[in-house]
């Protein structure tokens, strides 16, 4: 299901959206760290980039467990099925994207970018129901 917004409003919208039915995904695991991303994502058609909220978890030797360390925004360039992210940063959507674009767009342009909030499970479920 697609919902369109400006990038500057998306974090507030997400805070008020019930995403309970959408599972998170582990997209990367190595010895020391694990990257977990939210199942929903934000697509920016103009740049063909995808943004996801995520959490970096680190391996704790004493506990023998991965433990959450810090929240990040993860950027994907291609379709999400490939599962390969291109960058992540310990910051929100706008700042992470601005850093990735490295001056190619001003912050004023970035906050006004149109984006779609995509809830994949919900979309699949509705498609199946029809």
């Amino acid at each position: 299901m697609l919902r369109s917004y400006r990038l500057c409003e998306i974090e507030e919208i997400l805070a008020d959206t019930d995403t309970t039915e959408i599972a998170d995904d582990i997209v990367e695991t190595d010895e020391d760290m694990q990257l977990i991303v939210r199942g929903y994502y934000v697509h920016i058609p103009e740049l063909n980039l995808y943004l996801r909220e995520g959490v970096v978890c680190i391996w704790e030797e004493e506990e023998k467990l991965f433990m959450p360390d810090f929240a990040v925004t993860v950027i994907y360039e291609n379709e999400l099925e490939t599962g390969t992210w291109i960058n992540y940063e310990q910051d929100g959507f706008v700042v992470t994207l601005a850093n990735w674009l490295n001056g190619r767009c001003s912050i004023e342009q970035i906050v006004q970018l149109k984006c779609n909030l995509v809830m994949p499970d919900e979309a699949i479920y509705k498609k199946e129901r029809n």
Partner: protein
């Protein structure tokens, strides 16, 4: 105390120990996100870990000490809150299992209708 709990399950093909994340909103006005639901595989137990930060302190082995950003301050409320978070997680798992069964049933009915 009035509060609501939302839980997201973590899907893992490799069977990681982080099973989900909870968000708790107190009194419709104060929100705590990224409360982790973890599994101790040795004990087969789920437990709750509040969001933490890296402190400057080190333990005896020189490892960084993490401290909770926030936590319940009475044993009674901790027991209540953590119990309710784990209950919400169990409910979401049951709901998902039921939905999976419905999906399987739909696929089965569709394939039968093609026969």
């Amino acid at each position: 105390m009035k509060y609501s709990i939302k839980v997201n399950e973590v899907k893992s093909k490799e069977g990681g120990n982080i099973r989900g994340f909870a968000t708790v909103v107190f009194g419709d006005s104060f929100k705590i996100t990224n409360i982790a639901i973890l599994e101790n595989k040795e004990k087969g137990q789920l437990f709750v870990s509040m969001p933490r930060y890296k402190s400057n302190e080190r333990d005896g082995n020189g490892s960084t000490i993490y401290k909770d950003i926030c936590n319940p301050i009475t044993a009674e409320f901790r027991e209540e809150l953590y119990g309710n978070i784990l209950e919400a997680f169990e409910q979401i798992q049951v709901a998902e299992q039921n939905q999976d069964k419905k999906r399987e049933m739909r696929v089965l009915l569709k394939s039968q209708s093609f026969l």
